[in-house]
């Protein structure tokens, strides 16, 4: 469960979500190896936030546990997995702070140490025991080492399903003992139809645009809808329309609005959208593939910037700066407006032909 996604209205929590889209291939890899009797004891499901890692993990857990169910009643397994009351399933996730009521930033060793006693008892339904570790990268060092002991020597009939936003974010000693299931970004058309189903108020064009700018992650797309990310994205494109020239007044006005004290979500959203736009631009420049997003305005802009044949390193440096500033703004409480203006400044670059006399 990643930051912010639990608040997204729409599909239920992963443990209660019976709908999984676009990850049939990953699911089949798991089911095939189970069918062949060669099921790995630990799986690391990787992919960007909101793509459906936890949904897949709980879905696979249900498949295993349904096999146990004495009455063979999948509905009963589904209800108990959703309620967290299946005696053969243990979910390890960031604990809720009893004082603030919010999830803590990391999975602590105290909660990680509860996995071993669960596995030291016999299964309740004489079959599989499943441990889901949601957000394995959130385990602190001690918690990860506690889990490593289990992954090193798992008891019989045990499957550990970990989700993680990047395979390199978990200890190499854990990673090397897991079979990795990398979830791919969802196909844009699949996602836009899914979005239209969950957000009937979206028109198909908007849904398609969201599908494309959300990097193939349904959770991310829903978050964009809820935080009015599409509007911010469109404003960003119109502000950048004349790059490398930037309208200073418009840029100040935009930065004021996005960085206002009430607009914390907008600010974060903008930085994410900006970074993901840069990624797409870099990809076009690097691959010389001009069939970009299908969003006409972005296509025009990206193609025009790509045609300038500037060095790739300039854009890569800018992307790095954007990512770094995103992290630093929160940790060092940087002035948000200055962060934005500094990024816009870099965007204009050192072009002598720059048409703007009033640099930031």
């Amino acid at each position: 469960m990643s930051d912010g996604f639990s608040r997204v209205a729409g599909p239920p929590e992963p443990r209660a979500n019976s709908e999984l889209i676009g990850h049939d291939e990953a699911e089949n890899i798991f089911l095939d190896s189970w069918g062949k009797g060669r099921l790995a004891h630990a799986w690391l499901i990787t992919g960007p936030a909101g793509i459906g890692k936890a949904t897949l993990a709980f879905r696979l857990a249900r498949r295993l546990l349904e096999k146990n169910a004495p009455q063979g009643d999948p509905r009963s397994v589904y209800r108990r997995v959703a309620a967290g009351s299946h005696a053969d399933l243990f979910t390890l996730e960031r604990p809720v702070d009893s004082q603030t009521g919010t999830r803590r930033g990391e999975i602590t060793v105290e909660v990680a140490r509860k996995v071993a006693p669960f596995l030291h008892l016999t299964p309740a339904e004489a079959g599989w025991r499943v441990v889901v570790i949601d957000g394995a990268e959130k385990m602190n060092r001690n918690a990860a080492n506690a889990i490593l002991k289990i992954v090193e020597e798992p008891p019989a009939n045990t499957v550990i399903l970990m989700t993680c936003e990047g395979r390199h974010k978990v200890l190499p000693t854990i990673r090397s003992r897991c079979q990795i299931l990398a979830l791919r970004p969802l196909d844009a058309s699949l996602m836009s139809s899914w979005l239209c189903r969950h957000r009937p108020d979206l028109d198909p064009k908007q849904a398609m645009a969201l599908a494309q700018i959300s990097a193939g992650s349904p959770g991310n797309a829903l978050r964009l809808v809820d935080a009015e990310g599409l509007g911010i994205y469109e404003e960003m494109l119109s502000l950048f329309a004349n790059l490398p020239c930037l309208d200073t007044a418009a840029a100040h006005e935009f930065a004021d609005r996005i960085s206002s004290s009430r607009g914390e979500d907008s600010f974060r959203m903008f930085l994410e959208l900006f970074a993901s736009w840069l990624v797409r631009l870099i990809r076009v420049i690097a691959t010389d593939d001009h069939s970009v997003t299908g969003l006409s305005e972005e296509d025009v802009l990206v193609n025009r910037l790509a045609a300038r044949r500037e060095g790739l390193d300039r854009w890569l440096n800018l992307w790095e700066k954007a990512v770094r500033l995103t992290a630093q703004t929160e940790s060092f409480l940087l002035d948000r407006k200055q962060v934005l203006l500094s990024l816009f400044d870099c965007l204009e670059g050192d072009d002598p032909m720059n048409c703007n006399p009033n640099r930031f």
Partner: protein, 371 residues
């Protein structure tokens, strides 16, 4: 669900089931007790997903149904209701509420759907036998103190229950933490000769012991490799087992301890208790110095001083000295029912055996300490 039930009946069974419910759980449904009303009975079920306790009691059921409601809260409410009252449960228009009435008191309690409640562990278990409650109490009482708390050797975190056929058919419970070991036998119940050896975890041991405390009949047990179930007096306890192999404990029970000392248990415990007051270090070690006919118990603490006391014993072997943890000595001696205790030793570094000379069916092994 609509029913009425006597307050005392409800309170007694709630007291039975609610102690299983963990007070600090992050899963809401696990704080709840399940109530099923049908055919003139109310069945209460509580679980922590490792151990399930269910009890069925008489009630006048006006409308069958089932729900779940917070266990500790319900127990507290019923405990505070006036004695001799009738408690009525009634449904409300809201599905997530149930009303409890007693006299003029009305309590509206939150409910969660029964479908979310953990499944009953109701699978058929292969082995069945009945055992007198007194025997089961003996198997638990004399061994539970030795259950290990060390989680790395999790297979020692419970009581190992298994049948022994030779030389004589017995049902045996064993617990050890590596420092001491307790082994207790009762006669083997019919049908228990082929049961698998099972390790019952500590919480199950504690809860089962509480439940059978005032019961004096036969307890129906059923067992499999993964589950154990006890049924008695309308109570049904089902528990997961420890998934591990209990070590071959027979190897640590010495067979050739020939230095045997016999003494009065009560007097010995008093002496050890007094002398160990001086043993203030973490290990609380006391030294037993044996000479024919006499035992001297002593303790030395570099900071506090020293203590020693003698007591007469029956002992006719060579003089020797051996050290023990005073707490362990007292705990072990406390398990013996008879007046006399026998302690069989070999040397100062080998395990000793403590037992009641008149009871061949309980024996305790204690590792000595260097003093």
């Amino acid at each position: 669900m609509k029913l009425t039930i006597e307050r005392e009946v409800l309170l007694k069974s709630l007291a039975h089931v609610q102690s299983v419910v963990e007070r600090r759980t992050t899963i809401p449904i696990l704080s709840n007790v399940r109530l099923d009303a049908s055919d003139g009975r109310l069945r209460l079920t509580a679980t922590d997903m490792n151990l399930t306790v269910a009890e069925s009691v008489c009630a006048s059921v006006l409308q069958a149904g089932a729900t779940t409601t917070p266990a500790h809260m319900l127990h507290e409410i019923v405990r505070k209701l006036p004695e001799g009252g009738e408690v009525a449960f009634e449904p409300t228009e809201q599905v997530d509420r149930i009303v409890l009435r007693c006299g003029d008191g009305i309590f509206s309690l939150s409910c969660l759907p029964v479908e979310d409640f953990p499944a009953d562990f109701n699978a058929e278990l292969a082995h069945r036998f009945t055992i007198p409650a007194a025997d089961l109490r003996r198997l638990i009482d004399k061994t539970r103190f030795a259950i290990s708390h060390e989680e790395t050797r999790y297979y020692l975190n419970g009581i190992y229950l298994h049948p022994v056929i030779e030389p004589k058919p017995l049902l045996r419970s064993v617990a050890t933490d590596g420092h001491r070991l307790a082994q207790v036998d009762v006669s083997l119940p019919n049908g228990a000769d082929s049961i698998p050896g099972v390790i019952v975890h500590r919480k199950a041991v504690t809860e089962i012991r509480k439940l059978i405390d005032d019961f004096d009949g036969e307890i129906a047990c059923s067992l499999s490799d993964t589950m154990a179930r006890l049924c008695f007096d309308s109570v049904n306890v089902t528990t997961k087992l420890i998934d591990g192999k209990f070590p071959d404990y027979g190897r640590v029970i010495p067979a050739a301890n020939d230095k045997i000392m016999e003494f009065d248990g009560h007097g010995f415990m008093n002496v050890v208790d007094r002398v160990s007051t001086l043993a203030t270090d973490r290990t609380r070690s006391v030294k037993l110095s044996l000479a024919p006919g006499e035992l001297e118990v002593s303790a030395i603490s570099p900071e506090s001083g020293s203590a020693s006391e003698k007591l007469p014993v029956l002992y006719d072997s060579d003089a020797m000295q051996i050290g023990f943890n005073a707490r362990y000595l007292l705990e072990l001696a406390g398990q013996l029912d008879g007046e006399r205790i026998s302690l069989a030793m070999n040397d100062a570094a080998s395990p000793s055996i403590m037992r009641d000379p008149d009871d061949n069916h309980a024996l305790f092994v204690l590792m000595p300490m260097r003093v």
